[in-house]
Assembly symmetry: C2
Homo-oligomer: 518 residues x 2
């Protein structure tokens, strides 16, 4: 009985809170009309992908994208539009040529991309493959002096990932329900592979460490000897989908790393098998990259729709996404999708003729991929008390920050980031979008992107729940992260919902409640 | 009642026939042991893919593969092993360099392969893209004279295939049951898009014809003007998987076609969008191919295990698969899989020490991809009465021909090719393999490969039912048709079952019954 009473009280409270929260039906109608019937989100995405190309931090592509965004936001009538430097990032990098082929035992083009911040090949090289097939560091020593002019790879007999599951998926009702019912996870501080952890996990971790050691050691020896290149196996994906990130330091003062190419799983394993069978393998390589060092700074794009209520216009609702990407695709789902949605959301608000009480500020971050640098530095430069490492007076003026960075899938709800007090608010605000599949509010944290920069200093920072689509199987940090992998209807839906959330945050009597400082 | 009585009679007859058919349990045990516990099928497949490379008709790769097969079959103790010419095929072709990249508006490697029998680029060319966006032949005329030094493509706004279904699949019990219950399809001779067909189908066919006309006409004009290359959109697949076949004539006397490159769906659509938006696109091309004209003949690999029964040894059981492939992968599932399984099947029979009564003859065909040329010509040269176009005396000696050419999936049963009399025989012979998933006998025809060359002259020719795996989604005629897309356990199973079928055919009192001549 006690339990039931408690439950009833809780439900009663929640319903009460939801009942108090308001939805501006007229505003939602305008936003839906503009967002769903007059969408420009794919035009924006086309500019940010096909037109500017990869948007790697410090590359000409990112600068072109940033300038496009500045011009576009100005054209839509936003104010205080600027390309704001946030501090020193380091070297930019750009791919200028990439040709890799096997020339013996027969000719075959090899699908490969250099990792970012690795050097080129100094023109066309034809080099023999040297296979390292050792799990023992002492045995590795015997290779010393043998790497000169070689293309080096480690043996692998990895299997391709299974294809029995679909690449693309949406959340099921069951999965969403589970998220809605989730509770705050209390971390025990006990690492799974630590002394008290399970032995299988400990062994796996030990094996991974040994493999990493062997790989690093081999690369080091290869570089010292003057190898032509190091080949790395594609860590994820198959069928021509390559997962490629960084492979060297971007600090201005650090030396260039040796050329390190991620090779498609199929090509890599074939070369490894041939070499292991004692069949000489030769590789043609012509890779040219450019390090950009003239401007080491990073920039965010910032723009505002000024608030119209004299008492509230100094308060701010922020929305944002990172504009930078990796280099092998055109960063369509990571994160032209989020950037386009956020730009489209402010366009919708302007086009709808709505007058927000609070100021709405959009931010397109940079260097997210290397550690949320753009957003962290923005928060540090503007919103944080450097002594207390907590939001300062300007930070207190930010009602909330909304982020989008989980690919191209439509919005299914929102992560509360453990801010229970926001639940009734967001639950209510999702009501007009149940028909578009968005209704789930989860207490859970989600990590890995720019809302964390706000959350860590006590400014409510949220990220939306999005259908996963093929983010983990095909597009995230891959050469297939391109325009055609975007789902237009999903992005339209997302921009519409974000616009509504931002508008309601701007109109709400109070700011979004803060979590207590832990 | 009549119907039920008829059914009971039919079932009774079938059971009776099955009961009469024999399985040699001891032989099956030996075959299973050798095939499942001591398999060499993946070693063979490694040689036929990684080691020799693509096995395009008339290429050095196919000759290497054929010679490997000859040597291997001899080593296993087969007799009359030969590389037998079957007549003139035409020109061979081989890829010697393939580099394609976009250089404006920014640098990006382009995933592309030339169609077979198209010319090279004459060294590295940097050329502007000319987009043709016309569905009207009159409008097309205005492009005359504009193609010189251009890379030409037709506009497309195609969508990527859906990823919501798994790439890899096995037959379900329901699907197999449906096959087992299938009846002979009587063709009406009424084409679906013909005068009496449905209007939507007629319109689709008309549209396809128009598109083909526009494409051919554009290519013709481009060649006449001196274009650098024609780009074709990937007809199937995404994520880096390219479907590429032929694009020119292989007849010795025909001229070389212009360079025609199949470009990945994502790259093609991106170039098309940029060009349509009026943004100048430039392409770097360096494609070199070699036409092989010294030997225009085609060859099959033929080898025998001689029969030991004085009365039956002149009769023959044949098994085979085509050894040739397309050029962008290494033809692993099409059809190193089938070739390896058939080679492994005869290895199993030799290694098991079984003494077949009839002679067993393996054939590895060539030029299957261009129209079953190897098997057709073998049948024509050896087994057909040229006047009657039906099996001759030698053809009458062939009990049956077994073929495998549906990828890497395990055997789930066999197609009767409308030969109802073979049903009780094969039903019985599958009994020892129910535990390995093979039990379905279907009356249906299956087409598209070398058993048809036998079937059409009245020699029982059969093809096995295989799990589809990712044949239609990822590997069939694609750059991803490589060793790692093979399923070792499936190929072991297939070789074991084929060996048993071939052995039982060799031992059976009578030959496999023939269909009546239609």
């Amino acid at each position: 009985m006690k339990k039931i009473l408690h439950l009833m009280l809780f439900v009663g409270l929640s319903l009460n809170a939801v009942a108090q929260e308001k939805v501006d039906e007229a505003a939602v109608k305008k936003i839906r009309k503009e967002g769903l019937e007059n969408s420009k989100v794919m035009d924006i995405a086309f500019q940010l992908t096909d037109v500017v190309g990869p948007r790697l931090q410090g590359s000409p592509g990112l600068m072109k994208a940033s300038k496009y965004a500045v011009n576009q936001l100005k054209e839509w009538g936003l104010e205080n539009v600027q390309l704001e430097p946030w501090g020193e990032f380091g070297k930019g990098w750009e791919l200028q040529k990439c040709y890799v082929a096997m020339t013996a035992p027969y000719y075959k083009p090899i699908l490969a991309f250099p990792k970012v911040w690795t050097a080129g090949s100094n023109g066309l090289q034809n080099a023999e493959v040297l296979l390292v097939d050792e799990s023992d560091t002492t045995a590795l020593e015997q290779y010393k002096g043998k790497f000169k002019n070689k293309v080096v790879l480690l043996y692998s007999d990895a299997k391709l990932p299974s294809g029995f599951n679909p690449d693309v998926k949406r959340y099921t009702d069951e999965e969403l329900e589970k998220m809605a019912k989730a509770e705050i996870v209390v971390r025990t501080g006990q690492p799974a592979g630590g002394p008290g952890g399970n032995p299988a996990m400990r062994e796996m971790i030990a094996n991974m460490r040994r493999a990493t050691y062997i790989s690093n050691k081999t690369k080091e020896m290869a570089k010292a000897d003057g190898a032509v290149a190091f080949l790395s196996i594609n860590a994820r994906g198959k069928d021509g989908t390559l997962f490629v990130q960084g492979g060297g330091s971007y600090k201005a003062t650090d030396p260039e790393n040796m050329l390190d190419l991620v090779v498609s799983t199929e090509d890599y394993l074939s070369i490894a098998r041939l070499a292991k069978a004692g069949i000489p393998v030769k590789i043609d390589l012509d890779v040219k990259s450019k390090f950009h060092t003239a401007d080491l700074k990073g920039y965010n794009v910032i723009a505002e729709i000024k608030g119209t209520d004299p008492k509230l216009k100094d308060e701010v609702v922020m929305l944002g996404a990172h504009l930078d990407s990796w280099h092998t695709g055109t960063g369509a789902t990571d994160n032209a999708a989020g950037s386009s949605v956020m730009m489209e959301a402010v366009r919708i608000l302007k086009a709808s003729g709505l007058k927000p009480k609070r100021t709405i500020r959009i931010a397109l971050w940079s260097a997210e991929e290397q550690g949320l640098h753009g957003s962290r530095n923005y928060v540090k430069n503007h919103l944080t008390d450097t002594v207390k490492q907590w939001s300062n007076a300007a930070g207190e003026k930010i009602s909330a920050y909304f982020n989008l960075d989980n690919g191209t899938g439509k919005i299914r709800g929102i992560y509360l980031q453990e801010n229970e007090a926001a639940r009734p608010i967001f639950t209510k605000w999702l009501e007009p979008f149940h028909d578009l599949g968005a209704k789930t509010v989860t207490i859970s944290n989600t990590g890995g992107t720019d809302h964390l920069s706000f959350d860590r200093v006590g400014i409510p920072g949220f990220q939306f729940i999005q259908d996963p689509m093929e983010y983990s199987t095909r597009t995230h940090h891959t050469n297939m992260d391109t325009y055609d992998h975007l789902y237009p209807e999903d992005l339209k839906q997302a921009a519409t919902i974000v616009a509504s959330f931002v508008y309601h945050t701007a109109q709400r009597e109070a700011k979004i409640p803060r979590k207590e400082k832990k």
